[in-house]
Structure formats: structure tokens, C-alpha cells
């Protein structure tokens, strides 16, 4: 079966532009996560959805970051007025159940964002 997919795989944006990153989780997975990964570091939590409900957005670095999952499947991470410090790999992961602490997360390949 298909795994988690993300698009685009690479995105170059000029500072100040808005970008939208898409995540297609594994079908039927309840939990969906977004992470930001800087070079040489571990993934850093951004936000968590259970179905369409965004239950935790405490990791979003500023109000320029916005995520949605309107129908409980596909999710979009939007970054407004991009800054150079937003350059990173953005990873999406999904997990089967709502009790995700006891279930593995399946990661997508990530979107590498470069802000010039």
C-alpha cells in the first residue's frame, strides 16, 4: 500500500513569499503530525491533528505558520511571509490510532524548503 506522501519535495521561495506544503497520510490513519527538521538535528514537533481536529499547535514557531486538515485526511502546512530561518525539511507523519503514544509513526519523505 502507499505510504505517506508529501509535495512538493523541494521548494525554493523568495523571502516574503507564501508557501503551502501538502501531506497525504496513509488512508485511515487518525493521527497526523508535522515536524520541522533542521540540518543535523532531530525532527521538531510543530502540530498534531486527530482526524480534522487540531489538538496541539504549540510547536508552531509563529503566527506565520498555519496548518489544516479539513476533512480528516490530507493536510496542508502554510507558511506566510517566509523568512530565511524557515529553511528546513518539513516532515509529515501519520499514525493509525488516536492513542499515538503507543503506535508507530509513518513518516513522509519531507519537503525541503529553501528561503532565499
Amino acid at each position: 500500500g502507499a505510504g505517506v506522501s508529501q509535495s512538493p519535495r523541494y521548494k525554493v521561495a523568495k523571502r516574503g513569499q507564501d508557501v503551502a506544503l501538502r501531506c497525504d497520510p496513509i488512508s485511515g490513519h487518525v493521527s497526523l503530525f508535522w515536524y520541522q527538521q533542521a540540518l543535523g538535528q532531530g525532527p521538531e514537533f510543530l502540530t498534531y491533528f486527530q482526524n480534522e481536529a487540531q489538538l496541539d499547535k504549540s510547536g508552531l514557531p509563529s503566527d506565520r505558520f498555519f496548518a489544516e486538515r479539513p476533512e480528516g485526511s490530507v493536510s496542508t502546512l502554510k507558511i506566510q511571509r517566509t523568512q530565511q530561518e524557515d529553511s528546513a525539511v518539513y516532515l509529515c507523519a501519520s499514525s493509525l490510532g488516536g492513542d499515538w503514544t503507543y503506535n508507530e509513526q509513518f513518516f513522509g519523505p519531507g519537503t525541503r524548503l529553501t528561503v532565499l
Partner: protein, 110 residues
């Protein structure tokens, strides 16, 4: 708070053993382990739960010491395919967050 991993990097020959450690400053009830190869997505290895339950990889073993707030990953008879960066993750915040350590880079040479 981010868990601390050690060592930061290790190089070994095929067939040798390695241990990767993960420690936390707060009480743990589960520890997750993932491996990431360069340019690829992290891949699930194992979850260790309070009480000794484990879920995951058949060929990799791990321990979880709740009192010491530590977990260790044991890689025995390493294969070339074991190369990559290993991350431990621990639930934090409202327990809806998984906080990852900064990783241990493992290189297995022929």
C-alpha cells in the same frame, strides 16, 4: 525537554556491536526509536513502554529503565544497512508531542 543521546557518532566494522543511549530529565512512560538515512524519511524501529512491553523490530533489541529515565538501543552483529542516524523520541507537553533527541550517527564500514 529534549532527550539526550549518546554517543553523538559511532563508527564500527560490519559484525561489531553498538549501544546507543537516550536519557531524559523527566519521567518517561514510553520511548520511541527511529532510524533515518541521509535524505530519507525516519523509519520506525521500536517503542518501549512502561512495564516492559515492546513493539517493533525483530533484529534490534532495546531496554527501558523507568527509574533512571533511560533507554538503550542494542545493535548486534551490525550490517551495512544499519548505517544512519538514530533518534529517540519521548512524549512531552500534553503528551501529544513526541520530542526527539539530536540523534546518533552510526556508520558501519565493510
Amino acid at each position: 525537554q529534549q532527550p539526550v543521546q549518546s554517543p553523538q557518532a559511532v563508527i564500527l566494522r560490519e559484525g561489531e556491536d553498538a549501544v546507543i543511549n537516550c536519557s531524559s530529565s523527566k519521567a518517561l512512560y514510553s520511548v520511541h526509536w527511529y532510524r533515518q538515512k541521509h535524505g530519507e524519511a525516519p523509519v520506525f524501529l521500536m517503542i518501549l513502554l512502561k512495564g516492559g512491553e515492546q513493539k517493533g523490530h525483530d533484529k534490534i533489541s532495546a531496554s527501558f529503565n523507568e527509574k533512571k529515565q533511560q533507554s538503550s538501543l542494542y545493535l548486534t552483529a551490525s550490517q551495512l544497512s544499519y548505517s544512519g542516524t538514530y533518534f529517540c523520541g519521548t512524549p512531552s507537553g500534553s503528551a501529544r508531542q513526541l520530542t526527539f533527541g539530536s540523534g546518533t550517527q552510526l556508520t558501519v564500514l565493510p
